[in-house]
Subunit: 284 residues, 4 copies
């Protein structure tokens, strides 16, 4: 069987679900998953479907064409239809922290993540040996404040060369430039080491320690031009006590960062996230 | 607007969602919530819909009749359609433990639970004062091993008199009789003080302590003839350490019992649970 | 047996634990619990002990005198020694929200909280009926912006009359005045409906909804003059998704508020919290 | 400074803490951590201390000798004193599952685990490539039911050759033989993929799915001759719903297994666990 994933997003209107499910039925598809959400404040409708079709006569382009004519245009939908088996191509940006990189590559190696990782890009040499262990190409693009523009150009060239679909910042310690954000809108995933919006910016574990919180967290979000302000994909927390030092916070936080980032990658790769109004709809 | 909740359960077939959503659209309804689940092992289909209709011309009986003819019969559905505003009537069975009773009555008083509580039934006098505090009628039905049958008769008479829809056992320390279970199938909710299937039966906190577990739990489930074996509605856990005594387990467990039972009551009252194959589908 | 709780707090020095445990042994006490903490950044030492003594010849005043001379003075300790069986007297301040009040009074009624509740104070009449249900005196002290000063005087008079040890703000919607804070330093417990420091101030659930977080929380803390900035005693969180409305956030949050506040009350009542440097040490 | 860790375990007696802390003070040590536990049911006393000593004149053997004479003998203690900086040597046993192995080796590589890993032992060839990636020696010891005895002999020879302190079974699918258990008592850590005592034995995810639980878990424990019945070190859980398949359970469970096993390894390596009565005391 061929499986496709349909994502739909439009203003809320009567009869959308009936129209879409009728269409799927009319072309011989079987719906194996349907979830929808109506944001009643904003009057926006979201839907995610997984359908399967018999192998013969299946033609993705025809489905897309007809969907566009018969459904997307009349209902003014934002939409996408993708083959489930097609793995998105992910680039990893890193600097010097290695724990998230090890975790992603380990999960990738065990087959947990439905992605391809054609390239790791870094402004430092340090983690090239980790990339080598997992036999992933490592591209070193150093830059300074002054050469940031040319560095970005090289990054974009590499991303294009490897036909990258989305980017993961695995504790990458640099601010992403507006050009790159514009090219990969809602396609750059960051991991921030606090339960945002608490403790944005630098050294969140130190701030958490000084404030005396009893819970620390991590947050994965899509990158926008406002630092640490993008749409949140996933968060998690762990308990701390007075007996934990800043070093303990950092150590416990590493586990959160790994888990939260891995979950966000998986959700994105499986086309389970939709973005609007600086928030996410996550059909998990 | 009139709001209704539709629950459907049948063998999986192509085109069910389209047929149902078409029908809703055809009678002027607007779907505000739809969730579905396919058990692909058993080939069973489940759906829950919330729809709203304009007040004029709305006739629940007509909707039910047409639904039955046009959808339920052709697809061989088990189904129910209910007015969302109609609050189910719940009886509480208690013995001597008061923490769950206090919690349910407090939540009821603050308006958190969409239910009516016409009656509290007990085999002991002890908690009549709690019932009185919240101005709920309290019916004392004492019985012994020998008089259990007549006790059950009286229970059933009281349940019928108060037109009870479902029953909650709030740490009721008696085994429910098969007659009563048969009358209220999947409509009697129990709270068991362990994460089932670990530690079924009596004194689970003692067993958990002796085993040296690092986590204790509570489980709410529908009552079946097999003790502590019914379909699980909700579970939760909390961490314990070597420093906790059995008394600490019991104290921490009380919070779990309260929360888990309250959640199960809310899910059932909002018609978000469906039972099949000794499991629940919970559309939350 | 007589049981006492000793709390100690001083600058870190060699030999403190030996000196204290020797002293307990020398007067015939048996240590049944000892926990200590060293803040190595600030070089501060904290200790909590529970000891038991045979009933005869036990004299609390003598123990205190000798402790003061032999230990507290030489080591420059802040300290307290209290009989474990002596229940602290707690006042509850409320306005119109009833869920935390119901929860505290229910736990109090079931014997879960080792406290006395001699009085409930409110600037509104609304919750007097809840107090009446649980047979707790209710004192109505209305005030306006203009009469806040005289209102505070009346509050303090009532607190003194009832010999109140500590105060709980059970979703009390007024800012506590500096005079009252000064009188009850680290003895006023507030519950804030967010995981502080995220979303301080008014309407945190609305802010959380608008930010699109995947986790909401509640925080109990001691009240200081800086709003929502006092030492945190306890926090907890629950997961939310895109499918939850602001009303759902509020409903789910109620459970957090109840639990977190109840835990903070219990910790304080059992003399398990110590405050320094705007943080808490919680020996739980 | 030299740091040592002292673990003590004896029947409960008056004055133990005073005696131990006096002794530390008398030899110029500074206690930087002390935690103790009394099991009042069994009248057993446990203590863990971390102390530091100036580098000059520090002699571990002398400390041990004096501790033995002055404390351990009079109080009939079970005890150990170890240099904190000395990393225990851990062997990993694996079969074909790779996720826990990847996780352990990644954490080891990032420096999170205070251990040495001199050898990985397996009854299959499959994971030799993972070992090679991380440059850890891999020893293949195949055996059948018939050759299990000689296989065990070879295992023991390898463990002795590499001077192994403790063993981790990283989803090793073989039952450990009594001889090996006897040699490494409370020094073999297993990860079981359920919240024990629920679902012991084979295929726990399948059993959990069939029972319809709403929570799945993982448990790390010391291996004893009773399968899945040894002292529990750490457990954790995650929520599941009706919408998760057995494959989803397995996938979500992998994260639990990794985390729970890593935490147990860390606790054991840092000498924070003590075993008695088939339970653990975990000073974390």
């Amino acid at each position: 069987m061929n499986k496709i994933v349909i994502l739909i997003h439009c203003s809320d209107q009567k009869g959308i679900i009936a129209a879409v499910t009728n269409y799927i039925a009319s072309i011989g598809g079987n719906i194996i998953y349907l979830d929808q959400h109506v944001d009643s404040d904003q009057d926006v409708f979201f839907m995610r479907l997984e359908c399967e079709f018999a192998k013969d006569h299946f033609n993705l382009d025809t489905i897309k064409d007809n969907f566009s004519k018969n459904l997307a245009n009349p209902f003014s939908m934002s939409w996408s239809i993708q083959l489930q088996e097609r793995k998105p191509r992910m680039a990893i940006f890193v600097s010097k922290y290695d724990h998230c990189l090890y975790d992603i590559l380990s999960r990738y190696s065990t087959g947990e993540l439905p992605i391809e990782i054609p390239i790791i890009i870094s402004n430092h040499h340090d983690l090239s040996s980790v990339a080598a262990r997992f036999s992933i190409p490592f591209h070193h693009i150093p830059f300074t404040k002054e050469t940031k523009e040319s560095g970005e150009k090289e990054q974009i060239a590499v991303l294009e060369k490897y036909q990258i679909d989305f980017i993961v910042l695995a504790r990458y310690m640099q601010i992403i430039t507006p050009n790159l954000i514009a090219l990969y809108q809602n396609k750059i995933i960051n991991i921030h080491h606090s339960f945002l919006p608490a403790f944005p910016g630098a050294k969140p574990y130190h701030s958490a320690f000084n404030r005396g919180v009893k819970i620390i967290g991590a947050t994965s979000h899509y990158v926008t031009e406002e630092l640490d302000e993008g749409p949140i994909i996933e968060q998690d927390i762990t308990r701390v006590t007075h007996s934990h030092s800043i070093e303990d916070f950092i150590m416990k936080g590493k586990d959160l960062e790994r888990m939260v980032l891995a979950r966000a990658i998986k959700l994105h790769a499986e086309r389970k996230t939709m973005v609007y109004n600086n928030k996410t709809v996550v059909f998990s």
